[in-house]
């Protein structure tokens, strides 16, 4: 059991098993029942940030216009995130096996 400051994980770079950069942690998906708050997964990537700022209504039109590669949001289930070194979060799988949540 290690104790981590969740707020300090925000913006940390995540690498996969081959040390390839995946993106930055932007959001935590949690479930809050029976007075317990369980972390289900971590949202990684630019559009996770946009999602956090709930700025889609502003960004989407621009994104459509620019055809930017902004839909690179990964949802990392808690089992696949290795936080043993909170400074450098790592995936337990290669990037290719991640699923896009959008």
């Amino acid at each position: 059991m290690i104790e981590i400051n969740a707020e300090l994980l925000i913006g940390r770079k995540v690498c996969d098993t081959n040390g390839e950069k995946v993106g930055r942690i932007e959001e935590f998906r949690v479930t809050n029942k029976e007075k317990a708050c369980l972390v289900e997964g971590y949202l990684v990537g630019t559009s996770a940030l946009i999602d956090r700022l709930s700025a889609w209504t502003l960004i989407r039109p621009i994104g459509k216009a620019l055809r930017g590669r902004m839909y690179s949001v990964y949802e990392v289930p808690w089992e696949q995130m290795d936080l043993s070194d909170p400074e450098h979060p790592k995936l337990r799988i290669p990037k290719s096996e991640l699923r896009h949540s959008k």
Partner: protein, 404 residues
């Protein structure tokens, strides 16, 4: 019925509270140097301000959050702290300018130098906050501020050439002295689009417990109040263009501005100017120190209300106490309030994106505003004006400094 009263009061207060040393000095200098040429800057700034104020009220009425609450919650503390540093630093300079304006008004009335007024003035302002309620500050000061309407009277009595005034509403570039002209335009924009007004207004909407039913009222107040206010700034510019420019008088010192209305309103001009500035700056000083204190309190989650006993929101009361006392110090050292004014106005437009860009994000946030989100019109108008003033600022401020 109650709503109609609030509506009238809201418009009156926003008119009475519109002018402050920034808008008067920048408009007077613009008129004295360039005649009607810079009217467009006031027009542009006022249009933008109408949209911004309407948005501030709408955000609070719908989401029950103030702008600062929402900024902290959406963007997180690290980003928020940057915004806070920038806004508060500039707002503090403006506060110094307003306190100086009160001191200068008292100086020309009493003949006692403004440095001597610094402490008494800041204590008086502090006492009003300490003892007063939000209603007193918002309404009382602004009602007194209605004396600034005399600027409009003066301007009209000097029979301006409406045709060329209308021409001034369209931007033009002068042959020489582009840098100075641009800098003037920037200061005017900064004086019209004053972010502290948004923070004050949105906090006011919470203090007055607004809900969605206030949205139409909010529209009208923002629209009419700010429009009339804008006319007052234009009146100052026109009066300066007629009274000072022909004589070749530039407004480097407050004493010169005091002659502004003497040709038009012979026996009252001088005193009307003095009292206009006194009340306008008093109102603004109160609003700004409140806005800064709100910024800290809301951003850091302290309890805040101007209607509570100071000890019930100790940190809030402590914040404005410190701010007002600090504001007196530069004046004690005799720093020229007019210099501070012009500089702080230019800096305001330079820091506008810091205040407005996050605000635009919030105004498009479905979680806060649901169906009351911004339309493309308000988004683009604000975005464009902010862009213009920012670019102008970034170009002309350095030029002004090195004397382009």
């Amino acid at each position: 019925m109650k709503k109609i009263l609030q509506l009238a009061l809201g418009i009156i207060t926003s008119v009475g509270g519109f002018l402050e040393i920034g808008s008067v000095v920048t408009a007077a200098q613009a008129g004295a140097n360039y005649g009607y040429k810079l009217l467009w800057a006031i027009l542009l700034g006022t249009i933008c301000l109408i949209f911004l104020v309407e948005m501030s009220g709408r955000l609070s009425a719908v989401s029950k959050h103030t702008i600062v609450d929402a900024t902290r919650e959406r963007f997180g503390f690290p980003f928020f702290s940057i915004v806070m540093l920038g806004i508060v630093a500039v707002a503090f300079l403006v506060l110094v300018a307003e306190l100086g304006g009160i001191g200068l008004s008292l100086q020309i009335l009493s003949g006692i130098g403004f440095r001597w007024w610094a402490i008494p003035v800041s204590i008086a302002v502090w006492l009003l906050m300490w003892k007063g309620t939000f209603g007193l500050i918002e309404n009382g000061a602004s009602l007194l501020g209605l004396v600034t309407i005399s600027f409009a009277v003066a301007a009209v009595k000097m029979h301006p050439d409406w045709g060329s005034a209308a021409h001034g509403l369209l931007p033009t570039m002068p042959g020489d002295g582009k840098a100075k002209y641009g800098f003037m335009a920037v200061s005017i924009l900064g004086a019209s689009i004053s972010p502290y007004l948004m923070y004050f207004y949105s906090s006011g909407a919470i203090e007055d417990k607004w809900d969605e039913s206030y949205i139409p009222m909010n529209r009208i107040i923002a629209g009419f109040g700010m429009t009339f206010g804008g006319f007052l700034s234009m009146a100052v510019l026109v009066a300066a263009a007629l009274a000072l420019q022909p004589r070749g008088i530039d407004v480097e010192k407050f004493e010169q501005a005091a002659l502004l209305m003497t040709p038009a309103l012979t026996h009252w001009g001088f005193y009307l100017f003095a009292f206009s500035m006194l009340f306008a700056c008093l109102g603004a000083a109160l609003e700004i120190s409140l806005a800064i204190a709100y910024f800290f309190a809301q951003g850091l989650g302290w309890s805040w209300s101007e209607d509570l006993d100071p000890s019930r929101d100790a940190r809030f009361a402590f914040a404005y106490t410190i701010i007002i006392l600090l504001g007196a110090i530069p004046l004690l050292f005799g720093i020229d309030p007019i210099k501070v004014t012009v500089m702080s106005m230019a800096l305001t437009s330079a820091t506008l994106p810091l205040a407005i860009v996050p605000f635009l994000f919030l105004m498009n946030d479905p979680i806060y505003l649901g169906k009351h989100r911004n339309g493309w019109l308000s988004n683009s108008v604000v975005a464009i004006v902010i862009l213009i003033s920012f670019v102008l600022a970034i170009i002309s401020i350095p030029l002004e400094i090195i004397g382009g």
